[in-house]
């Protein structure tokens, strides 16, 4: 099976702090992997390296057999929530979802957006401007914007954060069907129940020994 994410001997240091120490990770196409571990073990850092938003101090990473984060082609295949959230001031929630889907070549009227809005409890918020949403609603909106576009690899940083139990179950089912349809998922998670719901295998990260 094709390996989508290939992480070899990756080391990341912030100044004198060693965050990741010679990590190896191979994620085959059509599978789901959840990075687990306590706060500060480097889950988000590894996800940022996988998306090319951060250069590892040492080691090699390839995604779809290429260096990650280079060019528009990469971002057409990879959707992520590892960045700090951003939105356009004057567009409504629904217009953001339309924009993301149209630009990525999807049909905004094929029912996909409406279905996701129902799943994520955003149906009544279509006309709202993102700046007026609560932090929980914003989290769901950004998750929807990531899931609404076609992609082959999803890189999600704690997608279960700030979701209530019902929506958490619905998101887990959605991600499971994404993987079943051939998509690949790499995520960080603190919620074992959610991880099992998604069907992701756990990869435990541990804090590197101080040198």
């Amino acid at each position: 099976m094709t390996v989508v994410v290939d992480v070899r001997q990756v080391t990341v240091r912030y100044g004198s702090t060693l965050v990741l120490d010679r990590i190896d990770l191979q994620v085959p196409e059509g599978s789901a992997v959840a990075l687990v571990g306590e706060n500060g073990v480097g889950k988000s850092t590894l996800l940022r390296c996988v998306t090319g938003l951060q250069e590892p101090t040492d080691g090699d990473i390839s995604v779809f057999t290429a260096v990650p984060g280079r060019g528009a082609d990469f971002w057409r295949e990879v959707a992520t929530t590892v960045e700090s959230p951003s939105w356009y001031q004057g567009l409504t929630v629904r217009e953001h979802l339309d924009l993301v889907r149209v630009v990525n070549g999807g049909d905004p009227d094929d029912g996909h957006i409406a279905e996701l809005c129902v799943t994520l409890g955003l149906a009544g918020l279509s006309d709202s401007l993102p700046s007026t949403l609560s932090s929980g609603q914003r989290q769901r909106f950004l998750l929807a914007a990531t899931l609404v576009r076609p992609s082959r690899l999803l890189v999600l940083d704690e997608p279960e954060q700030r979701l209530d139990t019902r929506i958490k179950g619905a998101v887990a089912a959605h991600l499971r069907s994404y993987v079943a349809a051939g998509g690949t998922l790499v995520m960080a998670s603190h919620d074992d129940g959610f991880r099992v719901g998604v069907g992701a295998s756990a990869v435990a990260l541990i804090r590197p020994e101080a040198e």
Partner: protein, 510 residues
């Protein structure tokens, strides 16, 4: 065990002069006055007086006047009063410092003591601005040498008018819905007055029928109005007691942000804050179906949606079309500056999306678009707006006889060049400009303001050279020839092509 006695009822709050108490503590900790601050303020005032004192004095009191009563100065006065209203509404007008808003606003302290300084400041500002407007209007309709009584009459009446405007702004503060209407009215009156004054100026300034109103009557009426206004200000101080905390807190946050901008010399933050306030106040936004339209690029559709939603703010670009008309007879460099900066302002109308992409390109990565495709799409709507603005402005100047030839076509052709400047301007974020420090003998100076001011103007100046040089070399009756149009078309196309070419080939950056 001794039982702890609960108080029978909470003691009524004593009239504590909390602000005085806080001030004393602060003085004890930091000393009375920072001599450095006094030096900076004094230096700023002196430099401002030396640099702009003379031109300002000439604007308020021109050395020559027709001596005939005319409508135009009154309309101009109304425009300045409307602008004063808008500024007051932006500032609150009644606000307290941010620390007072946090610690004292919600404490059981009479609101009157908290807001009295702000009310006094607003009133003094209204008196000064109003008197200046009154004297300026008088200076344009009274023959020289002017009577001192006429000067007093103008100043007093103007001050009374401005005090009523301030009262209106204060009355709107605790009533957000009514205040939004008043804001729209203020902007409409300001922009409308500018247009009317320009039209009247173009028509030769029709005179008023000479009414035998002696200055003493005007002075008496103005004085009576001023006393009434000041009495109402006094009454306002009583009504603030029943104001909710929210409008005061919000005004304090805004005033604090303005102070930050002045202190840190970082004005781009102001634009972001103003945008946030604007969008928060839009309560009737409905999703459009423009984005799924196949025949329009999604990013152009996005700009059109923003343009439609910002229509309440279109008054300023529309009104500012009239400004160059005032300057048609003035120095050409001033006319040139106003024409180009006005066009740049109009082209920046939809620049928020570019600014937010430059500050955080996460959405661009989500969209999977290259910087080049984004740049190409984001130039279209501003090019049309700037082209339209320039075409109308230059056509009006042509109509006035200041220019001859197909100037409006030149304006249309210069639209893309202006859009390129506006795009460059929108791209610069607070983080990229504000942290650059310039060392001066008086200490490090944050160059944010200067860089922000010239940012994009450099691109504009180069790409619109045919317009600039044309305005300088070809006043009527010289006729603009087609080589000028060709030169501007080439410059516009080259500028936009270069900007797109220099944009990132990758997704996630501009």
């Amino acid at each position: 065990m001794t039982p702890t006695a609960a108080p029978v009822r909470p003691a009524a709050p004593a009239t504590v002069h909390a602000r005085r108490w806080v001030r004393r503590r602060r003085i004890a900790a930091e000393g009375r006055v920072d001599i450095g601050a006094v030096y900076v303020v004094a230096l700023t005032v002196l430099m401002a007086a030396a640099l702009v004192g003379k031109p300002v004095a000439r604007v308020v009191w021109p050395p020559e006047a027709s001596g005939e009563p005319a409508v135009t100065p009154f309309v101009g006065g109304v425009a300045v009063l409307a602008a004063f209203f808008v500024v007051l509404r932006q500032l609150g007008p009644l606000s307290v410092s941010r620390s007072d808003a946090t610690w004292l606003l919600l404490a059981p302290i009479p609101r009157r003591t908290l807001l009295a300084p702000a009310l006094a400041l607003t009133t003094v500002a209204a008196l000064v601005v109003g008197a200046a407007i009154g004297i300026a209007v008088t200076g344009r309709i009274v023959a020289r040498p002017a009577e001192l009584l006429a000067l007093w009459a103008g100043g007093t009446t103007g001050a009374a008018g401005a005090v009523f405007v301030a009262l209106l702004a204060i009355a709107g503060q605790p009533r957000p819905a009514a205040a939004r209407l008043a804001d729209g009215g203020g902007v409409a009156v300001g922009a409308g007055s500018l247009v009317v004054a320009a039209a009247l100026g173009a028509a030769g300034g029709p005179g008023l029928p000479t009414l035998p109103i002696p200055p003493v009557v005007v002075l008496t009426a103005g004085g009576a109005a001023l006393v009434t206004g000041l009495f109402l200000v006094g009454l306002t101080l009583r009504t603030v007691e029943s104001w909710p905390a929210a409008p005061i807190a919000e005004a304090s946050i805004n005033a604090g942000a303005y102070a930050d901008v002045a202190y840190a010399v970082e004005p781009s933050y102001l634009a972001e804050m103003s945008a946030r306030r604007f969008w928060r106040s839009r309560t009737r936004v409905r999703t459009t179906r423009l984005l799924p339209t196949r025949w329009l690029s999604p990013l152009i559709a996005q700009d059109l949606i923003i343009l439609r939603r910002k229509a309440p703010r279109l008054w300023w670009p529309v009104g500012s079309v009239a400004v160059p008309v005032y300057l048609a007879e003035g120095p050409v460099w001033l006319l040139l500056g106003v024409v180009l900066i006005g066009a740049l302002g109009a082209a920046g109308f939809t620049g928020e999306s570019t600014h937010s992409d430059a500050a955080n390109p996460a959405i661009l990565r989500l969209l999977g678009l290259t910087g080049r495709r984004v740049a190409a799409a984001r130039l279209v709507v501003p090019a049309v707006i700037a082209g339209g603005w320039l075409a109308i402005t230059l056509a009006v100047l042509q109509g006035l006889g200041a220019l001859a030839g197909p100037w409006w076509v030149l304006g249309l052709l210069a639209g893309p060049a202006v859009a390129a400047g506006a795009y460059q301007r929108a791209k610069a974020s607070a983080a990229s400009l504000g942290t650059i420090l310039v060392d001066t003998p008086l200490g490090a100076f944050p160059a944010g303001m200067l860089l922000w001011l010239v940012n994009g103007v450099d691109v504009l100046a180069v790409l619109t050279l045919p317009v600039s040089v044309g305005l300088v070399l070809l006043p009527a009756p010289e006729v603009l020839g087609w080589p000028w149009l060709l030169a501007q078309a080439v410059s516009s196309v080259l500028g936009c092509a270069l900007l797109v070419r220099l944009s990132a080939r990758t997704a996630g950056s501009l």
